[in-house]
Amino acid sequence: MINLFKKRQYVTLSQIEKKNENYFKPFIPDGIFEKCDECGKIILKEDIEKNLMRCPNCNKYFRMTAKQRIELIIDKGTFVEYDSNLKTINPLDYPDYDIKIQNLVKDTGINEAVITGEGKINGESCVIAVMDSYFLMGSMGCVVGEKITRAFEKATEKRLPVVVFTASGGARMQEGILSLMQMAKTSAAVKRHSDSGLLYISVLTDPTTGGVTASFAMLGDIILAEPKALIGFAGPRVIEQTIKQKLPQGFQRAEFLLEHGFIDLIVERENLKKTLYNILLMHRG
């Protein structure tokens, strides 16, 4: 599971700590060029950004930060963030966990591995939660679980649809059993929202695995995914170690899940907003 989620260099491209549209604050020193880890071509970073964080040569999808995603999906000026004040603590006294979190908060400019809030998609209101794989692999600890749960509760109260973008290595090890319990907590909140007759769309992005797959990611009324996103319960490495054989090409990719009946639709990045809007329109109540 681990090596898949190693920080990639293109993280550096795209901190949208904005002053203006093109401002970004890299958190490791970088240049103007980036090497695509798929096709090996050297590309202008600017061209990757212009292409919605995809390689202009081979169309490889790079992971987006939560802030980038919100910019892509939510109408300008409509986003109101929820619960950015929640702070992670260290329930197991896991060595150096506090420091690690503090540094991540500083580097990413977000309080935890998910941003939640309310906004409009082409004028349609919804509650949105976007996970950020650059924050400790987007793993779900107590704060992520709490923010997701509150987002669903708020949506139930306000009778709004929910859109969740998942990107996560699963439940967060450093918070132990309490992370596991977030799976039950979030799923119960999704159930209440669902029982109120409200719409939930989950959008699975690379990577969506472990305890997030085994809870709210797979509970959407409609489940979308980005092309080639890794989606599964166990990570590929864990499976290889368990069964002691190599995994087939394309295993656990979005296309594989579509073929096996576990997602509704694969949507290219440039069509995501339009597709979400169309689905929201058809459920306007």
């Binding site: 599971m1 681990i2 004040n85 929640l86 702070k87 992670t88 603590i89 329930p91 197991l92 896991y94 107590c142 704060v143 679980g145 709490e146 749960t149 439940a171 090890m173 450093q174 918070e175 132990g176 059993i177 309490l178 992370s179 596991l180 319990m181 977030q182 799976m183 039950a184 907590k185 799923s187 119960a188 909140a189 999704v190 159930k191 669902s194 695995t209 472990g210 305890g211 797959t213 085994a214 809870s215 709210f216 990611a217 797979m218 509970l219 989606i231 599964g232 319960f233 166990a234 864990v238 499976i239 368990t242 069964i243 995994l247 087939p248 295993f251 656990q252 096996h260 009946g261 576990f262």
Partner: protein
């Protein structure tokens, strides 16, 4: 001394007592004083072992091949257990058993992860690691229980949900997620008991319940200590250190508010006296189902929601 070294000493002492008894009977000599002294020593030794028991000892105890399994408890606690098979979608998973039975004359639905008693049975049962069809069978039986207004009792004993090609193809994540989702509003009382190993989402999928209990020396964790060490330290051999850090014992989880009750085990562990542990579980079940059945269903469900809702630690 580790718990297993002590256990070895205990075993030797037990044999010695047996020999002395036999000798005294055959030779017609009164050795009751000597035997009494040895028995006292035995008790002290066992007590010492279990007072100092470490998390890692518990992990090993929970995984012991002699550790009683779901079926051991089911046959002692319930009458007329009828096992029901299959998820009606794909197949029947031998790693999860389920069915209907009587608890003190009242019908209940019983579900549990099932490990084997030996290698051969363990291969058949996949070492208690369910596939999606196991979780879907469990959910089918839970929905059936809801229809017929039967309380549900789940025995949790799994290293985790299976990680393989078939289990991914058939949607392990979706199967577990659906159980968490549906269990949160099932309109009958649900009690789950972790009897040995409660590993990750694979355990939680049978434990979104009104009451979650653990046997005294069972464990319940986000992942196996080996998996935890492998992910965080890239070294599965550090499982022992992981176990101490993870807070996976029944006592830790009671402190965290993750479980509601610890059911005591005899000195040496549940396998030393399955009848006694079964009796204790049975009495607890009878009492608690009685309590939960008195509640208005909306209150039961609100309480269940709140129970999981408040889990988690953070600063606001």
């Amino acid at each position: 001394m580790s718990i297993f070294e002590i256990e070895k000493a205990v075993c030797e002492l037990e044999n010695k007592i047996k020999e002395l008894r036999e000798f005294s009977r055959l030779q017609n000599i009164d050795l009751s004083n000597e035997i009494e002294i040895l028995e006292k020593k035995l008790k002290e030794l066992q007590k010492e072992a279990f007072e100092n028991i470490r998390a890692w000892d518990k992990v090993q105890l929970a995984r012991k091949i002699e550790r009683p399994t779901s079926l051991d408890y089911i046959e002692r606690i319930f009458d007329n257990f009828i096992e029901l098979h299959g998820d009606r979608l794909y197949g029947d998973d031998p790693a999860i058993i389920g069915g209907i039975a009587l608890l003190k004359g009242k019908p209940v639905t019983v579900i549990g992860q099932q490990k084997g008693k030996n290698t051969q049975e363990n291969i058949k049962r996949n070492f208690g690691m369910p596939h999606p069809e196991g979780y879907r069978k469990a959910l089918r039986l839970m929905k059936q229980a809801e229809k017929f207004k039967r309380p549900i009792i789940c025995f949790v004993d799994t290293p985790g949900a299976f990680c393989g090609i078939g289990s991914e193809e058939r949607g392990q994540g979706e199967a577990i997620a659906k159980n968490l989702f549906e269990m949160s509003t099932l309109k009958v009382p649900i009690i789950s008991i972790v009897i040995a190993e409660g590993g990750s989402g694979g355990a939680l999928a049978l434990a979104v319940s009104d009451r979650v209990w653990m046997l005294e020396h069972s464990i319940y964790s986000i992942l196996s200590p080996e998996g935890f060490a492998s992910i965080l330290w890239k070294d599965a051999s550090k499982a022992k250190e992981a176990a101490e850090l993870m807070k996976l014992t029944a006592q830790d989880l009671l402190n965290f508010g993750v479980i509601d009750k610890i059911i005591e085990e005899p000195l040496g562990g549940a396998h030393k006296d399955v009848d006694r542990v079964s009796k204790s579980i049975k009495q607890n079940l009878i009492d608690e189902i009685d309590n939960l059945s008195k509640l208005d269903i909306d209150i039961l469900l609100q309480n269940r929601y709140n129970k999981f809702r408040k889990m988690g630690k953070f600063i606001e």
